[in-house]
């Protein structure tokens, strides 16, 4: 059912190609399409996916494990969901990318930062949040994925005017 629903939704939103990609990735253990982490291309499929686990799989081709080495700094309560300041840092070596996901947003993936050697594994930005949701940061270090999650309560959602 999920496959049909998602496929239909994407068809409206983005057209056939994304629909096909999204469809594939809803099948558990389905093959992962070309990974963003491996090249420079914009990860279109991951950015238009609703389900967080699917988005992570499309982005990296594997799942992340929680780690206290990932420092996610987000407010406990965000009065304005249109502007939620979020920063991520990592106490890890060989960091190559940082991804931020908001699980209850229409599209779960918010940002994907590529961190070349010489750049610090730390980034701050501002996200929109539709409603109270978990925010997850994923740090790719030495080919492994580490994550931290924090709930942010949103008083006024960021999807209104």
């Amino acid at each position: 059912m999920t496959i049909v629903y998602n496929g239909f939704r994407r068809l409206i939103l983005k057209g056939g190609i994304t629909a096909a990609l999204t469809g594939f990735c809803n099948i558990p253990l389905g093959f992962a399409p070309a990974r963003a982490a491996a090249n420079d291309k914009y990860p279109e499929g991951a950015f238009t996916t609703k389900n967080q686990a699917d988005a992570i799989r499309m982005l990296y081709g594997k799942a992340a494990e929680p780690s206290d080495k990932v420092k996610l700094d987000a407010p406990e309560i965000a009065e304005n969901g249109a502007v939620v300041p979020i920063s991520v840092g990592a106490d890890l070596a060989d960091v190559t990318s940082i991804a931020l996901l908001v699980s209850d947003n229409p599209n779960t993936l918010a940002a994907f930062y590529k961190i070349p050697a010489g750049t610090m594994p730390s980034v701050a930005n501002r996200l929109k949040m539709a409603k109270t949701s978990n925010v997850t940061a994923i740090v790719e270090a030495g080919g492994k994925l580490f994550s931290a999650t924090k709930e942010v309560k949103v008083t006024v959602g960021g999807c209104g005017g």
Binding site: Y113, A124, L127, A130, G161
Partner: protein, 103 residues
């Protein structure tokens, strides 16, 4: 026309801290206007920073980045007076570029 990009890059020891603020609507495509019609998506997809021809930071953004986006990061290997190039391109193919001196 004034650039849509404002950059502040400050060198301190080995590290350069970069802060950037871009003027952009970042419309997600999920919001309706006053007449109940959906405002079409219009958002920056890729933001790239280069120092001496080398990419030092690349941001791929979705629709959840706030209007007039802000981002901060730090990198090693630059000194005062070096140039930092900043570029963005959005989902409509519009783009902007600026160059800032590291202070």
């Amino acid at each position: 026309m004034a650039s849509s990009i404002r950059v502040r890059a400050i060198s301190s020891g080995d590290l350069t801290e970069v802060q950037v603020l871009i003027q952009h609507p970042m419309d997600s495509g999920f919001v309706k206007d006053g007449k109940g019609e959906i405002i079409p998506p219009h958002f920056i997809k890729e933001l790239t920073f280069e120092h001496e021809g080398k990419k030092i930071f690349v941001a791929d953004w979705g629709t959840a980045i706030s209007k007039d986006p802000y981002v901060k990061f730090s990198f090693k290997g630059a000194k005062k007076g070096d140039e930092l190039k900043v570029m963005w391109v959005d989902n409509k193919g519009e783009s902007d570029t600026t160059t800032a001196k590291i202070q």
